[in-house]
């Protein structure tokens, strides 16, 4: 097959055995790769209702077919597992170089089950699988670990996806890190790795995948380059120079970015607090060089060096927009040194900056409202905006020290532990919410609540951009279904192919399907392309259904849908009719509204979902 290695690796860590299987062409065409192929394999291979940390629980690293096959912006791989946070399906993707390097090592996907007796890392060297002791590496932070493994193998160019102490401690917020600063951050997949005593997956090799039509890939890449010079030039310029944090200030002002744990507006921040964390300003202080993920002409990454202030850091990744906002506007902080230190700590310890920042914000609101005393939170004065306290609490979480040990489980688990602070929680099905506000772009309410991987701004739907529609359009909830499903169709295929989240502006519309055909040789009619996206969404959702989750089990906090509405700011008075948006969505898919179970007819129409039909309707 073109674009694919054609091999899947299944590793049993308990017995230290492995099995190589071929990837068949039908599965490849139907599910492509990334989150979609990952969900398909997880659905077929992992028994229903497996406890997340049980030996039978699986975790998979799945490349996108674009990885290493030539398309620009096609370098992302996806991690799939059950989520320890939501109890449902989890996928999290990451850029850098790891995905393409995994294919070079000889596999399209690597799945793990079992639990190693001792800490281990698995080294795939040009197809060969080696289990290597990692007891001496257990406890190392991610960057220390990468250095140690590269030294041990005598190769500075190996690809490494690893966990830090966060994953070892089974934190619900544990990320999987690669290329030092890149994270498959959300949903706690790092904890699943930790539960298996799997410290890292290390890859290298010389296998090169071939595109079906290399000339077509080159021509499409040229089209992308022209696109960047054309209608998206200003956005391209912002991303290539300043990364995702370049829109921090404007996003606060227009109401997209949350302030003060979703209670506030730009009016709660000083002009300086809004401006300083914006990447354009941070770059002036800290930027030493930029970097790109594999085959990306945008290059939104940068390396910072913080040479002065209370928390000097020799080298660290530039904080992403989400991180700036979580440790900035969410906690009324404008101290960029504190933001960088929090980002650095989370990356080092392998924790998701979104969930850590949101957990600090939750505790901060509780503390400021007298729900927690200073003594109860280890003497840290979490007054809104106290930069020292924000760093101190983040450090406690990262290291699992004092109250940090409880907070490592995330805000929802912490509220349950202490049996208080529930009123300040902001989450979707247990996971903290990222920094795009449904009161500003209402479709995010459906995406956050009902995506099979809840609480993600990068998932498909009406999208963030819907927030730019005039109020009479975006706050008219009567007719959103078709556009919502179209957004899902687009995004699912994009990620299945391994394209970057930023491709939604970085690639011309629908070019991802042309890339898919150029790389694989698979032709997709418009109907097949649509079914590809719906199938991907459905198989992820089916995983949740098989776990027993139904519509009522997917929740979202009232606060972020405007219950009660904000009293000031650009979204003052807005209450999102989240139920109607979701009804429209399920109706458009042909699913039952009551429980969000797809009808048999809707599954048959999409095709490639025979196992799901069997599980849902065999006894009907």
């Amino acid at each position: 097959m073109f674009g694919y290695v054609g091999k899947l690796l299944f590793v049993d860590l308990t017995n230290r055995t492995f099995e190589v299987r071929d990837l068949d062409e039908k599965t490849a065409k139907d599910y492509v790769g990334g989150l979609s192929l990952g969900a398909k394999i997880l659905y077929d291979e992992m028994p229903a209702k497996t406890p997340v940390f049980a030996p039978e629980s699986m975790i998979g690293f799945v490349t996108g077919v674009a990885n290493g096959a030539g398309p620009f912006m096609g370098g992302r791989y996806t991690v799939v597992s059950k989520s320890p946070v939501t109890g449902g399906f989890n996928d999290a993707s990451s850029g850098g170089t790891f995905g393409p390097l995994m294919k070079r090592a000889g596999y399209d996907a690597v799945f793990f089950k079992g639990i190693s007796e001792k800490p281990v890392y698995v080294f795939i060297d040009d197809g060969k699988v080696e289990f290597r002791e990692a007891t001496h590496l257990w406890g190392k932070t991610t960057i220390e670990l990468e250095k140690a493994i590269k030294e041990e193998l005598g190769d500075p160019k190996v690809g490494i996806a690893s966990i830090g102490p966060g994953g070892e401690n089974l934190s619900n917020m544990a990320a999987i890190m690669n290329d030092e600063h890149r994270a498959a951050g959300r949903g706690g997949s790092g904890a699943v790795m930790g539960s298996k005593k799997l410290k890292a997956l290390v890859v290298r090799g010389n296998h090169r995948v071939q595109a079906h039509d290399k000339d077509a890939v080159v021509a499409l890449n040229k089209e992308v380059a022209e696109w960047h010079k054309g209608p998206v030039a200003p956005v391209y310029e912002m991303f290539t120079n300043h990364g995702t944090g370049g829109a921090y200030d404007s996003s606060i002002i227009n109401g997209d970015t949350s302030v003060k744990n979703w209670l506030g507006t730009a009016n709660d921040l000083t002009e300086e607090q809004i401006k300083k964390p914006t990447s354009q300003e941070q770059d002036k202080l800290f930027k030493i060089k930029k970097y790109s993920c594999h085959a990306c002409p945008v290059g939104c990454g940068a390396i910072y060096s913080v040479k002065d202030g209370k928390w000097p850091i020799e080298e660290t990744g530039r904080p992403e927009y989400e991180t700036d906002a979580m440790f900035g506007s969410m906690v009324l902080n404008g101290d960029v040194y504190a933001i960088n230190q929090c980002n650095f700590l989370c990356n080092e310890y392998g924790l998701d900056t979104i969930s850590v920042g949101a957990t600090v914000a939750w505790l901060m609101e509780c503390y400021n409202n007298g729900i927690f005393t200073k003594e109860e939170i280890d003497g840290v004065d979490l007054t809104w905006g106290n930069a020292d306290a924000i760093v101190a609490m983040t450090e406690k979480i990262c290291k699992g020290e004092g109250i940090g040990k409880i907070l490592q489980a995330g805000s929802v688990a912490a509220a349950k532990h202490f049996n208080k602070g529930f009123e300040a929680l902001v989450h979707a099905s247990g996971i903290e919410i990222p920094q795009h506000d449904p009161r500003w772009s209402p479709g995010l309410a459906r995406t956050y609540q009902y995506d099979p991987t809840p609480g993600r701004h990068v998932k498909g739907g009406l999208s963030i951009h819907y927030g730019h529609q005039p109020p009479e359009v975006r706050y008219d909830y009567t007719n959103t279904g078709e556009r919502d499903v179209n957004g899902v169709v687009y995004t699912e295929a994009l990620y299945a192919a391994g394209f970057c989240t930023m491709s939604d502006f970085g690639l011309p519309p629908e070019i991802h399907i042309k890339f898919l055909t150029a790389v694989t040789g698979f032709e997709y009619t418009p109907e097949e392309a649509r079914n590809l996206g719906i199938r991907s969404y459905t198989i992820r959702h089916a995983f949740n259904l098989r776990e027993g989750l139904r519509r009522k089990d997917f929740t979202i906090s009232d606060r972020i849908i405007g219950v009660p509405p904000l009293k000031e700011g650009p979204t003052a008075g807005v209450t999102v009719d989240a139920k109607m948006i979701a009804d429209n969505f399920f109706k458009e898919l042909g699913w039952n509204l009551e429980d969000a179970v797809p009808t048999k007819e809707s599954l048959e129409r999409v095709g490639g979902l025979e196992n799901v039909i069997k599980d849902l309707y065999a006894n009907a």
């Binding site: 054309g230 912002m238 829109a247 200030d249 227009n254 997209d256 927009y321 000031e568 650009p570």
Partner: protein, 91 residues
Amino acid sequence: MLKNGKVNTVKIQVYFVCQEVVGDMKDGIYEVAEGSTIRDLFSVCEKENNIFIKDEYRRWLVFLADGKQAQWDTVLHKVNTVHIIRAAVGG
């Protein structure tokens, strides 16, 4: 319009938070005819700064008029401040 044929004007404080789109357009007070739209105001800003933005780039601009969401065709009635900001693009 006044009886003498002159046009009543209003002064509006404009803030730009979108340098990738508008380059060096300066924050400041701009004067427009009463009843002007955001589009009219933006034209004045273009002329005064001698910076003219391609039509295809305008989709990357969004507006707040006295803190409320506004569109290109929003009429600036009793508005003191306009923020011209970059469209959110994710991240």
